[in-house]
């Protein structure tokens, strides 16, 4: 009985998804980090151009790229560079390389609990903490307590980016607790007195962020608009929009160009990311 009901529910769900997959004019899919940003862009743009319909969904950078390859989305948001094997599939499907637009900057913030006395850490210390070489807060000048490391799921673009920039491609410690979603990580750190986690700058509510030093002798840098945009804050990345070159025309091209105008970039700052400096806009 139960089994057949669940199968009915499954069939109904499949039917529902199939119906709702009707193509809109511009569909945007991809990075969860960029969902809020993309929605704000879409809202603003649709208010200005009522004829254009833009539909934004998340799911993760990899999901977005898969959707781009399957031509189920027009624009793919990605918080990491597209990988070689993914480009290969794109070339097979489109006949061309996908176009990669840099659309914003994102500084990754390292979060700790509010009660933690630590104010700054060097990149080496961060690497040690997240790879598990440093296990106790007193090794970096904090209280005598085990460090509780929180990380994103390995499916996230943020996970890979942090691993590349901060961990220098070493593995995360096995005891790192992985939480789905940046908001989840920040919340977990906010509830854990000895926790440490990382995430997009836009999520920084509830836990405090720390300043990062490039090496022990350099000054500690807070993640702010100035420091990220001029590149002194060491943990930053580009956010991308990926497109099939055949699609980049008409309304889609107008939309992408609008994103790179001052008006589009002002939305970036509103949401908590960092606008691209003029010389980096293509």
């Amino acid at each position: 009985m139960k089994r057949s009901t669940s199968i009915l529910v499954l069939l109904a769900a499949i039917g529902g998804v199939a119906l709702s997959a009707q193509a809109q004019r511009i569909t945007v899919k991809g990075s969860d980090t960029m969902v809020v940003l993309a929605q704000k862009w879409a809202e603003k743009y649709m208010a200005k151009n009522p004829k254009v319909k833009i539909q934004v969904t998340g799911g993760g950078s990899g999901t977005g790229i898969a959707a781009l390859q399957n031509k189920t989305t027009t624009i793919c948001n990605s918080s990491r560079k597209i990988r070689g094997d993914e480009i290969a599939v794109c070339i097979q499907r489109f006949g061309r390389r996908p176009i990669e637009h840099k659309v914003a900057l994102d500084g990754l913030t390292v979060y700790i609990h509010e009660s933690n006395p630590i104010k700054e850490l060097t990149m080496q210390q961060l690497q040690g903490i997240f790879t598990g070489r440093i296990k106790n807060w007193n090794e970096v000048g904090g209280p005598d307590a085990r460090i509780q490391v929180y990380s994103r799921e390995n499916s996230s673009g943020t996970y890979e980016f942090f691993k590349e920039v901060v961990l220098k491609n070493l593995d995360y410690t096995a005891s790192a607790k992985t939480i789905p979603g940046t908001a989840g990580v920040v919340q977990a750190v906010a509830k854990d007195k000895f926790g440490i986690g990382y995430g997009g700058a836009a999520y920084g509510k509830g836990a405090k962020h720390i300043a990062v030093k490039r090496d022990p002798n350099s000054p500690a840098i807070e993640p702010t608009i100035e420091t990220v945009v001029n590149g002194t804050y060491p943990i930053w990345r580009y956010l991308y929009c990926l497109l099939d070159p055949a699609q980049e025309k008409g309304e889609v091209l107008d939309y992408i160009n609008w994103i790179l105008t001052d008006e589009g970039q002002s939305v970036v700052a509103e949401v908590g990311y960092f606008p691209l400096p003029k010389h980096l806009r293509e």
Binding site: G62, D85, Q92, E153, N169, T178, I179
Partner: protein, 415 residues
């Protein structure tokens, strides 16, 4: 006459009215008109026949669907099982410079780019050239690592520890997104077993106690609201239970016990137990209720108390059914995803402590599948885990079903 051969009452058979038996033993004889409705009942109308067959087909499709799902999952995992996948980061093959494209035959280039003849034909020259350029670029990004030549998807690396670059000792490591993709399944298996064990230790005593109380000791009135009450637990969506565990239970337990890791196996196991209770309860309660009342009456007549009846007569008689309930609860606990994904912390460590975090097989699939390259090795390994989970729950359900069936036969005296 047939009725004379009737087994149970051979001596009384002459007392039965022969007239009443006649229509049954001689279907050919004409019946009086008021028997028509009975005769009609033996044959189906065409419409009923069609409806019956449709219902049969629908229920059959459920079984077919299960087999199709298993075939799909198994098919995706098959290359890993027979060792056809290779995750080595170093390839021995020569890189062909883009300028030399003209010097090679299309067949050679197809093999070099890993394309089928069809895919090759569908592409124009520019696309082929783009692929060639990409191949050169990717060769430049090659990984410098002593483990780069290892095929980490072979059985040895799935189950045995290995000392990877940067580690002090051989370890069981699950790090699928890494320079070297490390796919050791041991931390995940331990995680699944650990949470399941905690969940069962928490849920089984509670559920069985409730089942014995409801089926044997409670008054009809109490039973009327208690039974649906417990079963209502099954109606709580697991994501709600998981959220509750993540936000409320974890902080409360940490406050209570003062351990280090806020999200751990204990929290997720107990939340999982809440999902297991209704499964164990309703099947155990069924098994206990299906013990014939004559056992109870006989024991009561001999002077035993209600407690003695429940513990020493009914429970032993229904034991196989109770065991089946536990096995089904196990299947539910192993297969549950959302609760453990949210509340266990998902750290892939090898530790049997219930105060440590753990990463279960189900949560791993849920968290990672969406981002894997379709048909890549990470994807296939996740399907291998899925196939293993399917096999475990399928076998446990099968065992439980067989036990319940045997119990029924035993209690009904069919044996």
């Amino acid at each position: 006459m047939r009725c004379l051969l009737h087994d149970n009452y051979p001596h009384h058979s002459h007392l039965l009215a022969p007239k009443a038996h006649q229509p049954m033993s001689h279907p050919g004889t004409p019946l009086p008109s008021d028997w028509d409705f009975i005769r009609r009942g033996r044959r189906k109308r065409p419409g009923e026949w069609v409806v019956e067959k449709i219902i049969f087909l629908v229920s059959l499709s459920a079984i077919v669907l299960i087999f199709l799902i298993f075939a799909f999952v198994g098919n995706k995992a098959w290359p890993v099982i027979i060792g056809k996948t290779n995750s080595a980061r170093v390839s021995q093959e020569r890189i062909i410079p883009v300028e030399d494209m003209g010097k090679h035959t299309p067949q050679e280039l197809q093999a070099y780019l890993g394309l089928s003849a069809r895919q090759w034909a569908d592409m124009d020259d520019e696309a082929r050239k783009a692929l060639m350029e990409l191949k050169v670029e990717m060769a430049h990004e090659k990984v410098e690592d002593k483990d780069a030549h290892i095929n980490t998807t072979s059985w040895r690396y799935l189950f045995l520890p290995h000392q990877w670059t940067g580690y002090d000792k051989p370890e069981y490591i699950w790090q699928p997104v890494s320079q070297i993709h490390k796919y050791n399944l041991v931390p995940l298996i331990i995680g699944s077993l650990k949470t399941t064990l905690v969940a069962l230790l928490f849920a089984v005593p509670l559920a069985l106690g409730a089942a014995i109380y409801v089926s044997q000791l409670a008054s009809t009135r109490t039973k009327e609201w208690l039974k649906p009450g417990v079963e209502m637990l099954a109606g709580i969506p697991s994501v709600v239970l998981g959220f509750f565990a993540l936000i409320v239970m974890s902080s409360f337990f940490q406050h209570l016990f003062g351990y280090e890791s806020r999200l751990n196996t204990l929290v997720s196991g107990i939340a999982l137990g809440l999902a297991v209770i209704p499964v164990v309860f309703s099947i155990a309660e069924d098994a206990l209720t299906s013990v014939p009342r004559s056992y109870v009456h006989a024991a009561l007549a001999l002077g035993s108390s209600k407690w003695q009846v429940a513990w020493q007569i009914v429970l032993p008689a229904a034991l196989p059914g109770v065991f089946a309930a536990v096995v089904l609860g196990f299947g539910r606990a192993v297969g549950e995803t959302m609760i453990v994904l949210m509340a266990s912390g998902n750290a892939s460590i090898v530790s049997w402590s219930i105060l440590d975090s753990c990463r279960t097989m189900t949560a791993t699939i849920a968290a990672e599948l969406a981002e894997t390259v379709v048909d890549g090795h990470h994807y296939r390994i996740l399907f291998l885990i899925g196939a293993a989970l399917f096999a475990v729950t399928f076998v446990s359900n099968l065992v439980a079903d067989a036990i319940i069936h045997r119990l029924k036969n035993k209690l009904e005296g069919v044996a």
